[in-house]
């Protein structure tokens, strides 16, 4: 995978998360809605950064899809929180992959993003996991 491929994969993940948080926020109120809004803004800012990084490399950033299939229907506030956990966990996995594939400043950016995704997932979940982005156990 080239650096551009890695950035494109991360951008595709952020597009999906932005769409997902639109759904999440629509099913929440009060503090939880504000938390979804803050996450939405962070993912949009990251999308802009990735778009700029790709433009610097003369690559056309992958566009967002018009819609994304959700892992399961979102009806209640609890469904919305479960979707938010899922979005952040998927992103943590994408960005951990990016850490392994990137070098230098971009690797550091990817590592900080894994931390951000893990913290957001834990906030929705109310607890931590030992290896965010890698799965439940590491040999």
């Amino acid at each position: 995978m080239t650096e551009v491929d890695v950035l494109q994969t991360a951008l595709a993940g952020e597009h999906a998360a932005i769409y997902g948080y639109g759904v999440v926020g629509a099913h929440l109120s009060g503090q939880a809605r504000a938390r979804a809004r803050a996450a939405y803004d962070v993912h949009r800012a990251r999308r802009e950064r990735l778009t700029a990084l790709l433009a610097q490399r003369n690559a056309t950033p992958v566009p967002a899809a018009a819609a994304y299939a959700l892992p399961r229907p979102v009806v209640t506030a609890e469904d919305a929180a479960v979707l938010a956990i899922d979005l952040e966990e998927r992103l943590a996995a994408v960005w951990v992959d990016a850490v392994g594939l990137l070098r230098g400043e971009l690797r550091l950016f990817a590592a900080r993003t894994v931390q951000d995704a893990a913290v957001r997932a834990a906030t929705w979940r109310g607890g931590s996991v030992p290896f965010p982005g890698l799965g439940p156990t590491v040999s």
Partner: protein, 166 residues
Amino acid sequence: MKDAGLSRRWVLTAGGLLAASACTRGGRPTPAPRLDPDVAIRRAAAADVSALLALYAVNSQAHPGLASRLAPLAAETTAHLAAVRPPAATSTATPATPTATGSASVSSPPPAPTVTEALTTLAAAERQAAARRAAQLTAASPALARLLAAVGASEATHAMLLSERA
């Protein structure tokens, strides 16, 4: 439908990485362990994580009311130590008990005087640990960098959970 495509891409990415790390491991003709820069990075990370564990131990003991809150975080930190520690063949002959490893060089820290200070101290230590993990992974092999990124993310999560009001 688009989501299925995206998921597939993620799966493909993970598969590609497995292949990549397999190549790295297979292609390296069993070098002398001390030539592998990962070993030094693993040692440094293991020393950090051992110090964190010691901090959890003294504060759990001094503040039994915190024990149930700290136990899951300490358990994850024990898992971090097992994962980052250099392979047995390259480390000195130390007992395999996670808490014992590295404790020879880590003097036991004093517990914080109050529950609030214990939480503040641990949160600060986890935050610093997460920052060190990010610094350490920049020079690591791809496989170790992934591991340190995950450990650092868990440490950042611990810092957040310790900063929350009970």
